[in-house]
Symmetry: C2
Subunit: 268 residues, 2 copies
């Protein structure tokens, strides 16, 4: 799969679009000129709808325009191009998690807060399985992403980690949660887009075990297989790996934070 490029185009224009609902009270219509029939918000909603239903690969400018009953080129009046539209889609859905911000009610304990984050992110990927296909290097610096960063950094600051480790920990937690959520979602997406269940995908490859796999070349896999330690259903495998991985990562962070607390607060 070729990935979408994110964070391209004129930066200021994109930032204005990302924060359009923010400071200033929304986009106000100019005093003169023809009345717009479509808007950035409607375009983003339509694009997300198309991507949810048919995958990000089917989200073409033509399809989005069609969904809005507009001409393809009309979109370009409101949005610089497809790359920027994807940035807007990503930030919009990230914001859907509605993570409690500063001053709002949050779960007690930093670990519970991270687990809320993981649960919301899992739901998010279930609703928008195309999300993991968009690369987030140079991410859209919009409210959705910032809410995520604020939430994670706040929780991990409270964990007692030394400040130098907080950013790295936030990155690691975000990566772990994302990997878990998106691989589970990807299993669903693969079933939905190809119309082939995971079981039948494996069944079509049963010859692999007979003809290509070699017990002597891969003894550890073979042993685990015989011990029944290898799952079959892709979603379940992904979910188990994600849950296990996040739990162990948080264990490790907790141990580190405890050690830092004991060593850092002298005579504590």
């Amino acid at each position: 799969m070729a990935a979408e490029r994110s964070g391209a185009g004129d930066p200021r224009r994109t930032l204005d679009l990302l924060w359009r609902a923010g400071s200033g009270g929304g986009p106000r219509r100019p005093a003169r000129g023809r009345r717009p029939r479509i808007s950035v918000d409607r375009i983003v909603v339509a694009a997300v709808t198309v991507a949810d239903r048919d995958g990000i690969g089917a989200m073409s400018m033509e399809r989005v325009a069609e969904a809005l009953g507009a001409g393809t080129m009309s979109l370009y009046t409101h949005v610089p191009g497809k790359a920027e539209l994807i940035d807007l889609m990503v930030d919009a859905v990230l914001a859907e998690r509605d993570l409690p911000g500063a001053g709002q009610a949050r779960p007690d304990g930093w670990r519970a807060r991270i687990e809320l984050y993981a649960a919301r992110t899992g739901d998010l990927h279930r609703r928008h399985p195309w999300l993991h296909q968009v690369s987030l290097v140079r991410p859209p610096l919009g409210p959705g992403l910032l809410a995520q960063e604020e939430y994670l950094i706040a929780a991990l600051t409270d964990s007692g980690l030394p400040p130098d480790d907080v950013a790295a920990a936030a990155g690691a937690v975000a990566a772990a949660v994302d990997a878990a959520a998106s691989s589970a979602a990807a299993a669903d997406r693969a079933e939905h887009e190809t119309g082939q269940s995971d079981a039948s995908w494996w069944a079509a490859r049963s010859s692999f075990w007979e003809r290509d796999f070699d017990d002597e070349r891969y003894p550890a896999i073979a042993a685990l297989w015989r011990a029944g330690g290898l799952g079959r259903d892709a979603r379940e495998v992904a979910t188990r790996a994600g849950t296990f991985g996040l739990a162990r990562l948080l264990d490790g962070i907790e141990a580190r934070a405890t050690a830092a607390g004991a060593g850092g607060v002298r005579g504590g």
Copy 2:
């Protein structure tokens, strides 16, 4: 970015291509007919070269054929389609890590073995920065992927984890290492493909901090920023998060394995 679909097409045909160099002593030319000018291997090498240089987005059948001095449609004699070619590319580069298999010399200790895996995977993504853009749900079941699974499962089996946890742990470690390696590589790729350094990307967005960012809405980010805990260079941030995350994950696994060992081996 729209992602490539992997694992599509006729399964048996794809498996045969993936294992072409394996049992049977390579693809033998049929007794009759015109002599082939290109081969699957040459196509895969050319495709990887193109993707390495110009990104997976530039890897079109036309470009690959051109690199081989052949007509575009000639590729389809050897490869069913682009999706399958990408599977072959992925498995080929995964195999480049040349992880020591059963019977070969390996580092002492399961943790050192995982760290070798992480290092090799980091190099791999540095050489082939397009790799993280290919989704690996329903992955190509070729020698490259199997070598990875064998290596991880063997190492984690030796860690002392209960068998039920080994597969999940292998998945979690693979995900963590992949996330670390690919986000670091993606930072490079972004610089290379857009011709814009990370510093200048941020500089172009300096207005973000002045106009869009709000200290009161994001107090934890602001505090960490003032404490100097937020890095600037994308590659360094990604590397730190990856290193930290993997270390903590392995800490957590180790603790779990120790506990299981103590509890599991009665009267040990």
